[in-house]
Each structure stands twice: as C-alpha cells, then as structure tokens.
C-alpha cells in the first residue's frame, strides 16, 4: 500500500501488528500533513502505533517523513563546531540559559531553537522573554550571523520546521497516545534532525519531574533517539540525568533568569551548575577532542572568570534585551507583588520530592500554561532550595513563593511542602547523571 491507496489499509496493517514499509509510513505521514488523511484516521494510527509499537526502521522513516514535512536549517560550516543540546523537559531545568553562553565561551557554536513551556515544565523562550526587550523570533539568517559573531543564540523554532510534528503532537495529546517511546523519540529527534549541527547532545530527564519517571524508561528513550541519529548518520551523545527533584532552585521565568545570572557570575554552585558544566564539557570533549576532565575544568573556569557571563550579556544585547540584567537581575526583571517565605512545618531529612507537583504549583501561580498559546506571568513562581538528603528544621525557611495574591502564595507554599517526603534517618543524594550513552 503506497500513495494513492486507501490510507485505512496502512492503519489496518499497523492495527494487526504488521511492520509497515518505509513507503507506507511515508505515504501516511505525507497524507496526514497534506490533510488528505483525516485527523480521526491519524488518531487511530497513533493509537495502533502506541499499542503495537514501532520497529527502529519504522521510527526512522517516521522522522524522515516529519523532517521532510517542512524546511530544514544547516548550522554546520560555522567558524566553530555547532552543538544542539536538548533536554526532554523538567522542573527548574535552566540548563539552556547557562549552557548556551558557556558553550560559546568554550569556543563552540550554540544555536538553540527552543519551545515554550507546557504543563509542569518550563520553556526556555518564556524564561528569556522575561528579560525586557528580549526577542526570540530570529530569522534563519539572523540566527546564523549572531552565532557566528557571538557564539550563541536562543530562538523560537519556526513553524516551518517539522510542521508534521506539531500536528502529530497535538493529536497525541488529545488521544492519550503521548507516552510511547518511539513516538516520543521521533518527536524529539525530528526537530534535531531538521537542523544540521555537528553534534546533538541529549539530556534525557528521569524522575518525578520528568516525562520519564524512571532511569530505565529514560534510558530506553535515549537509546531510541540514538538509534535515530545513527540512522541519519548524525553524531549524537545522550545523558540520562536526574529529575527526581527540581534541578535548580527556581521554578518560574524571571526567577530562572535570576538563578542563571547568579550561576554565570560564578556565585552559585549546586546540581544545575554541575550538570551544565558536565554537558558543556562533554560537548567540548566530543567536538574538539579535549580530554573530558580537562574540558569540564575549562567549563568551570568559564563560569568563574566571567567569560560565560560576557557571552550571555552579548546574546541578550544582540536579541534586543536589557543587558543590565547581568549586573542586577532582580532590578531589571519583573517582580511579583507578593513574595512569601516557605517555612518547613516539621523537621526531617528530605527523602523525595514530587517535582512535577512543584512544577504544576508554579504553573498554577501563572508561571506556566496548561494549554498551548495561553499567556504566562513572567514574575511569579517558586524558589525551593532543599535537595534530597538535606536536613530540614521546623520553622526554617526552605524557599519563597512569588505570587499575585497572598492567597495564591499560601496555596503555592502548601503545595511545595506537600511535595516533600521527610524521614528521620539520613538519605543519600541521588546521582546527578544516571548514564552516558552514545
């Protein structure tokens, strides 16, 4: 069954557990993208794919059809080697804000096409747009030129890039077919494959704040993504990293920028800095043949000596934002009218955190959106400082809620405290990185 046939025959074959041919997959996705295949049939197809699974060759062809549904972008051939770092989404996952200028400071080219936040996960574009004047709608030529000049840029993914992905994702969201490893891998990778860079670096999150709740599931997704990269003959490395708790402290938009600036000024340590240093170091090691430990040291130094901060300032300036944000972020960025402390109500060791609940609480304050296209409030959010293994004392502050009203602040604080599991004995902190692959 190929183009011209009844697309229901392709769906029936998948329904019955048959492996589809490349021509069938391509015909179906092309028909779906053109609108020849009705949405209800695509919905049934997605459910059949979810239940019956997809072989590697089918997933590969699916990404090919998705990539070919739109324009592509070539970011190779710059002065510097280009890395496309991608995280699968989490809570307080401000890696990109730091990684982009840090990579640039290390001599790499980081042209990052980002998306917006949805549900409990934040979006890099939303965070950067909390900087007054910052624009993310860069033309491909602008993006190119900025990366060549400064070393980094973060822009919105054009709607011309893999339009089939947006369409399929919306349908998956509407039809309870999101949590399928091959469909997730295809969706993650088609966006990376449509933009040619020298290295794809995947940060696949695992844990309570991630889409993949366990390292095993996250590893399976990482392997599926790596298989697609191999099929496209693209260099790719993947890390399965911990999202059993918010990675940094800030869960919001302006609040994340504040935290990123403090990291870039070398004033703040912790897991968000450690992971970003590892990711940037590994990209440098892979692209420039630098020894990984030496590469990580260079990344650490670039945070401490202000060179990464300078790249951030240049990027903000180039994209129309207020560069003063690097000197006094709290003054430049929007600030919520109500800022309330979160106070621990009882003592104990933090054994687990429902990071998704914290993400959702921040979204409920207005920092996130529950439907695509909803507006967000850049000023509000949550700062939550304890990490698993930390000892909490009753009455001691564990963070702040930034809200529009006292009532909302109280609800946010209660949600944060409810997300904690406290125990009496000591608890070891979880690993930062579960696995390095590829």
């Amino acid at each position: 069954v190929v183009t011209g046939g009844d697309p229901r025959a392709i769906v029936a074959a998948k329904r019955d557990g048959t492996t589809l041919s490349p021509a069938e997959i391509r015909a179906f996705i092309e028909g779906s993208t053109r609108g020849d295949v009705p949405d209800v049939l695509t919905a049934a197809f997605l459910m059949a794919c979810f239940i019956r699974g997809l072989q590697d060759a089918e997933t590969l062809e699916l990404t090919r059809a998705m990539v070919e549904s739109g324009q592509t972008l070539d970011l190779t051939g710059l002065r510097a080697a280009a890395v496309d770092k991608h995280s699968t989404g989490g809570v307080s996952d401000g890696v990109t804000l730091v990684f982009a200028p840090l990579g640039a400071a290390l001599g790499l080219a980081v042209a990052k096409l980002s998306g917006r936040g949805l549900g409990h996960t934040g979006g890099t574009l939303d965070k950067l747009e909390s900087i007054p004047g910052f624009r993310t709608d860069l033309e491909p030529s602008e993006l190119h030129a900025q990366v060549e000049r400064i070393g980094c840029a973060v822009a919105a993914q054009s709607s011309n890039l893999v339009p089939a992905d947006g369409r399929l994702y919306a349908l998956r969201d509407a039809t309870a077919t999101v949590e399928s490893i091959p469909l997730i891998a295809a969706s993650v990778m088609c966006k990376k494959l449509a933009v040619r860079t020298d290295l794809i670096e995947l940060d696949v999150k695992a844990g309570s704040g991630a889409f993949m709740k366990t390292p095993v599931a996250a590893t399976e997704l990482a392997e599926a993504c790596l298989a697609l990269a191999r099929g496209w003959e693209r260099a790719c490395i993947a890390h399965v990293t911990d999202m059993s708790q918010p990675l940094g402290d800030a869960v919001g938009n302006a609040l994340d920028v504040v935290e990123a600036v403090h990291l870039l000024r070398g004033e703040k340590g912790g897991r968000l800095r450690d992971l970003t240093v590892r990711l940037a170091g590994d990209a440098l090691a892979r692209l420039e043949g630098v020894d990984p430990d030496e590469a990580a040291d260079r990344a650490d130094r670039a945070l401490d000596d202000g060179s990464a901060l300078e790249r951030f300032r240049l990027m903000v300036e180039a994209q129309g934002g207020e560069p003063q944000v690097v000197e006094d972020p709290e003054r430049i960025l929007p600030r919520a009218p109500v800022i309330e402390p979160i106070v621990a109500v009882r003592a104990g060791t933090l054994a687990a955190v429902d990071a998704e609940a914290i993400g959702s609480a921040s979204a409920a304050l207005g920092a996130g959106r529950f439907r695509k296209g909803d507006p967000i409030d850049p000023a509000v959010g949550i700062v939550c400082t304890p990490k698993i293994g930390d000892r909490l004392e009753a009455g001691a502050p564990v963070g702040t809620v930034h809200a529009r009203t006292r009532q909302a602040a109280r609800e946010g604080a209660a949600a944060v405290l409810a997300s904690f599991t406290l125990v009496d004995g000591p608890v070891p902190p979880p690993p930062l990185i579960h696995a390095d692959l590829g």
Copy 2:
C-alpha cells in the same frame, strides 16, 4: 474515572488493556455523543477497543449507552406477537421483502426498521423505494397503526433512534476499526434493543458476500449478539446462514422486488425462499409454541396460497406504493435501458462465487452507493442464476445485466463471470444454515 474526569484517562486505561467499569464506558459514550469528547479521542478509543477487545460486560454497557443516546420504541402489546428479524447484510439478500408479509400472513407482527445499502450490500429501503410512491418515513404512531391493522411495515430507522450508533459507525468506517466482533455486535444489537419486540431473530451471514467471511467468525458474532440480548433479558434466536454466493438471483433494487413478488406468488423456489420459510417458521415456533416443522409447513403454504402476497399488497398500498406491483412487477417498476445476457464462456461446475464482487459490480452499475447519502439507480443491477454445484455449459446464459449503457453492461457481465470459480468434477452445494443458536 467517571463523568467530569478527563476522558483521555478512560482511553488510556483501555489502551493499556484494563477492563473498563460500566461508569467509565457510559461516561465516555455519553461524552462522545454530546460532543464533549472530540472525534479524534473517540477514534483512538475505538482503535484501543479493536486491539484490546471488550469483555461481555463492557460491550453490554456500550449498547446501554448507545440505546440511551436516543429515543426508544415499544412494539410489544400489539394484538400479535412482534418479531424483529435482522440480517447482517449480504448479496441478493431479499429476505426482509418476503419475510415481513409472510410473518404477517402467519399471524405475527413484523415492524421492520431498516437501513440503506452501503458498499456491496443492498438495503431494504432502497429496494422498496423502487416501487413508485412507496414511502418509508413512517412516524412511530403510523408504524404502530399499520402493523396492528396489516401485520407488517417496513420503515426507515429514525435518526432519533441510537444516534450514537450512526456517529460511532461513521468513525469506525473512517478509522479502520469496523471488523471488531464486540463493536459490530454492539452496533447490530443497539438498534434491536432500542425497539422493544417479543423476539429478536438474527440472520448472521457467513461467506464471500458477507461481512463475516467464515461460519466460525459469524458464529462468534452471533454469540456476542446473543450475550447482549441475555444481558438485556430479551428473547433472541440467531441463525448463521450461508452467504458464500448470492442468496437469491437478483442483485439490485427493482430487480429484488421483482424476485420477491415471484416468491410471494409462489412461482419461484430456491435458497432465498427456503431460508425465508425457515426464518419465519422459527419465529412462529418460538413465539406461538408451534412445532417447528409444522410452522415451516404453514410458512410454505402462506407463500403458495397467496396470503403472504396479499399482506405485501396491503403493505405497499398502506405505504403509498403502487399495489399493481404484485400483479405485473416488470411493468410497474423502473427498467434499465440496456439489458444484456451474461453468457458462460466455458463449461464447468460452479465451485465458488465471490459474492462480494457481484455486489460491488451491481453497485458499480449504480444500484449501490459507496458513500452514505449517494443516490442510487433503482433500475440497474444483476441477475445471476447459477448456484454452487450447478453445471454451466459454454455459451449458455447464466443471468442478465441491467445497465444504463452497453459499456457498463459489458463490464458488469465480465465481473460476474470473473467471480465464478469453475471446476471439472461435481461440487456439493453449501448448507443453507450453518448453525441455529439461542
């Protein structure tokens, strides 16, 4: 998960192989019927049901939600016991045209709500409407009164009856989820369960011209339908009958009425008469406690003595049709401009017939529709006389094609001949009835 929850959770549960609760099934179908559940989610639900299957209790609740989606009709409490005979559709399946007046002649009440033809199967309404003036849009009160007075009526199923079924069927057709035993059983039975009669009699067809290609599959469907009737505490019997070849000779609309009139005049024997006699006899036996052989004899006599024909004449008259059709059907009914004989090109014993191909060839002439709502041509069609086991001689006529053009007639004749499998040795005729159930 019940009403008010996210309907995607219900779909996810079925997707993962969970048996749904009655409340979940009901909430989903109600939401789908109201339009609260988007079509794409219903499509995904149907695919999940197709692949994961439905337990008896789930299918039962599905019919309940479908029946409750619209109005119901009570045809019990008439002077005579009411039987609702239903065939699952085949080629040259003119049973209803004969059964309704025959049942009435036997003292039963036959109020038949019918549908229109689709694809290779004909529809009783289309056939009857080839009689000039015949109307099928009877109000419930008209239907009641006519059955009480004459003993039979054949009317169009109101759109208020099980509206959820029409909606779900259209979605199944669009999403490659038609061939699911529980979904078919629910669709067949919801229409029977929404109309209260004293007996449901199912004629489940098996073979090349039927939806179910084998007696095993047809028996499975019959059992699923009987289970639903038991769940509703409704009397129901089912027959698995042969559709490995056209049941009668005529495959069209006016042509079927001509054949029915010849049967009702007692002028024609064969498998269509034999099956109709068996079905009417079994209904009489079950409803009136008559011995089955005696009941079949009475049915035979009612065809031979003109009493069934008289009921047909009264029904045609009551529904506005030209009653002269019972005297001279060929003159009263529309006639195609081109009537060509079909001539066997080689000798042999008819071993198999692709009845669906003959149905499709008739539909291609204009007698059927490929999409709901398409117009049909009442005059055209095919008459094909040989049955499996018959000896064909080269050059001998095996039927006629009734067409608009010579070209169409030639194509129709070729399709009929191509549908035959001829062998040299003798072939036993297939049984007429594979199984009696319930």
